[in-house]
């Protein structure tokens, strides 16, 4: 672990900033709905990162305000946005071909659970009365060159969300390459899960709380 021990867990904004800093200059990126949209606030636009939205646009800008609001120009979360110079529009089959074909460099998704082999569960709690709704999550998870997850490391009941094997219904198999959480950043590698950094807890504490054999 190269970074020093941080005394407190990261805030959502803190996680978002870490992810933003890790996104290479000139990347094409999809930010999933929910928390991952915070990453946009920390992206330095000078670095030429281009945002994709599944509903048919490259070059998505920030949320629209006032007169900028146009009901024909929304993001995947149905929030009005603006377009940036060099933007382009395309239809849904082309938009998902772009994802599925592996052309996006990074996608950032929220998660209920991630397994040590990179399986992702983020679309369905498995509850019997839940209405299933998957949207573009399965396409995004499988399509990007790198899929990053942004989540808290523990759920409200204290159980770890980074797990040996997902118990929730899967979104995708072996698709996550990196997990950004309030308590640490984890790389999914062929050898296992490597902790790149921890926040507000030592690696040994996280090993104990997750029950996982986290690599240093």
């Amino acid at each position: 672990m190269s970074s020093p021990l941080e005394k407190t867990p990261l805030s959502k904004d803190g996680i978002a900033k870490l992810i933003a800093d890790d996104i290479p200059t000139g990347s094409f990126v999809n930010l999933g709905i929910g928390q991952p949209t915070l990453v946009a606030d920390h992206l330095d636009l000078e670095r030429g990162v281009v945002l994709h939205t599944e509903n048919g646009m490259l070059g998505m800008g920030r949320a629209a305000v006032g007169d900028e609001i146009d009901p024909d120009l929304i993001n995947a979360g149905k929030v009005p946005v603006v377009e940036t110079p060099g933007a382009s529009y395309f239809h849904h089959a082309d938009s998902f071909a772009m994802m599925r074909g592996g052309h996006l460099d990074v996608c950032v998704l929220g998660a209920f659970q991630v397994s040590v082999t990179g399986d992702l569960a983020n679309w369905h709690t498995g509850a019997a009365d839940a209405i299933p709704a998957v949207g573009g999550a399965m396409d995004l998870a499988m399509g990007a060159k790198d899929t990053y997850v942004m989540m808290t490391l523990f759920s409200k009941d204290g159980s770890a969300k980074l797990v040996e094997k997902c118990t929730y219904p899967l979104t995708g198999v072996a698709c996550v390459s990196r997990v950004y959480t309030d308590h640490g950043v984890f790389e999914i590698t062929p050898d296992g899960v490597r902790a790149r950094s921890t926040y507000g807890a030592t690696l040994d504490e996280l090993r104990e709380r997750t029950g996982l054999d986290l690599l240093d």
Binding site: T53, E54, N55, G56, M57, D70, P71, D72, L73, I74, N75, K78, E83, Y89, F90, H91, H92, A93, S95, F96, A97, M99, R100, D119, H124, D129, I131, P132, A133, V134, G135, G136, A137, M138, D139, M142, G143, P169, L170, T171, G172, V173
Partner: protein
């Protein structure tokens, strides 16, 4: 065959008048953007029953697609994301067993309609492999990667919203309201487009037409 241009107060009603009971209707839009509201409302009033409706979502609030569901004339929804903060009409019908639901990942939904329009009999997609949505489907490993076989999704009718049409039925869209419209137009036996504007044939630049007139049967001018 070339497109009929319908104008005037009952244009939407006339456009949907021949949609029969039991039809599969593809309805454009992603949330509210690109939703052909006037055509959906006309379909609600038309009264065809036992419909299968394909849309990315399953209606918002009490208008448009939600209002169509509320008529009770929709037997089945095929969509990727029915549950939304304001999808109470759908939620209630679904939970009470009065509406069948097929959830399809959004990219597979688009690609299945693209396949229907493109004469493809089936395709292997990596999306949904190893998930509950792939259960019971044929799987295959190709070049070391796992895929699920998906089949085309044809519509009897497509109702789409475009920005502008010429008198032949060539369509252009506006921003992210384009979404499913161009794909659905290719996938249905009969495509009805509502537009804000109809211009003379020849006024649209041939380089920028998104949906060529061959895919459009009726154009409804809304104001």
């Amino acid at each position: 065959m070339s497109s009929d241009i319908l104008e005037g107060r009952d244009a939407a009603a006339r456009a949907v008048a021949d949609i029969p009971d039991g039809a599969t209707v593809l309805i454009g839009g992603f949330g509210p953007a690109g939703q052909p509201l006037e055509l959906i409302d006309a379909l609600s009033r038309h009264g065809a029953r036992d419909l299968t409706v394909v849309n990315n979502n399953a209606g918002n609030g009490d208008y448009g697609l939600a209002a169509l569901l509320k008529t009770g004339h929709v037997r089945k929804m095929i969509c990727s994301f029915p549950r939304q903060s304001d999808s109470w009409v759908f939620d209630d019908l679904y939970r009470s067993g009065r509406l069948e639901l097929e959830v399809v990942p959004q990219g597979n939904l688009a690609e299945r309609m693209r396949a229907a329009g493109a004469g493809i009999g089936g395709f292997f997609t990596p999306t949904s492999v190893g998930t509950p949505l792939a259960e019971g489907k044929e799987e295959r490993t190709i070049d070391g990667k796992d895929y699920v076989l998906e089949y085309p999704l044809h519509g009897d009718y497509a109702l789409v919203k475009a920005h502008r049409s010429d008198r032949m039925g060539n369509l252009v869209y506006r921003k992210t309201a384009r979404n499913f419209g161009p794909v659905m137009a290719t996938a249905a036996s009969t495509t009805i487009a509502q537009v804000n504007d109809v211009v003379a044939t020849g006024e649209l630049d041939p380089e920028v037409i998104v949906t060529p007139s061959i895919y459009v049967d009726k154009v409804v001018l809304t104001s």
